[in-house]
Homo-oligomer: 216 residues x 2
Amino acid sequence: MYRLYATKGSGNCFKPFVTMCQLGIGFDVLEVDVLRGETRSDAYRAINPAGAVPYLVTEAGVGVGESNAMLWLLADGSELMPQTALLRAQSLQWMFFEQSRLEPFISPARFLGRIAPHLGVGREADIIAWRDKASAGLAVLDAHLSNRAFMLGDRYGITDIALFGYVHVSDEAGIDMHSFPNVAAWIERVRQTPGFVPLSALCDRARPFLADEHAA
Amino acid sequence: MYRLYATKGSGNCFKPFVTMCQLGIGFDVLEVDVLRGETRSDAYRAINPAGAVPYLVTEAGVGVGESNAMLWLLADGSELMPQTALLRAQSLQWMFFEQSRLEPFISPARFLGRIAPHLGVGREADIIAWRDKASAGLAVLDAHLSNRAFMLGDRYGITDIALFGYVHVSDEAGIDMHSFPNVAAWIERVRQTPGFVPLSALCDRARPFLADEHAA
């Protein structure tokens, strides 16, 4: 059984979570509250010295960081994996694109604009700049999805999950998704895939990390 | 035969280059001069609309971007690939770490501090901040390499190549490598692997892109 350390509402944490749900992999999930500073606590750093979420621990006790890397472990040998070397390279091309051209802009614009607006006071110019950069990345994605059902063609897989994590909350970052109709249609297609669960399911299922550690 | 579009001195471009050299894969390489703005030229954007290097084109004419993604195509089935799902996930964990915690800081500190210092005038505070952030990433890497010959253990592979690209030019970014003795020792071990070629070999081998296109 896997254990996932995650923070509610995080697009990165959602990726391994939905993958395990869709593949029927057994796991439990502990909520590490970023807003309360729990990722910087001694208790959490004893588990993941990098102090980041998500963090996935295997049954053998091996920890894996980086959300997109987790997908390659969880989906190995499943129908969610790209099936050829070229498709695997194209999958990774999009995953690195996501981590450099989308996530670094959608995530802070959403966090400071919506999740913790008291921290965003005085950062309005940054938030606008992040929205613009995210929109440039979304335009590339929209063009790519103009003639494909899913990221690599007809077949849903981990590339879609990696991109979906933050792209599907772009509206919460203040981005008008009407500008990206192909992305909006793809978001709906992903939501219809077998076993899909929404981001809110992570909150419903997680137990508090620090409470758990105190009880242990 | 593959075709690689690359810029001299680029740690990202070096990754697919040295991989093809070490695996004996046939390729040619065209030099796209970033300093002359050739990546933004119409001729280059007709090949790679993203206007970025490196860019790898397969014999079938399929283009692949993102240096680390290229390694998964080029090394597929070879001894440079991680051999289990867990090792593949750990490899990707380090590749995403490289692209978020090392490359974004080593690359601009080196570019503005060394390669194009006229562009770095007035950016001294940024350069110092980038060096500090790169050093924090190098400290994580140094701890990891304290008890391993290579990134994933005893065996050299694409994870080493991905990290080596920028880490081995950290000194050119103004970082004192004496602070990271395990990293420095690993750099020497990588240089001793079969078929290794230095960064300068890319320049020796490349033909100019625009001259090529004009001749075509």
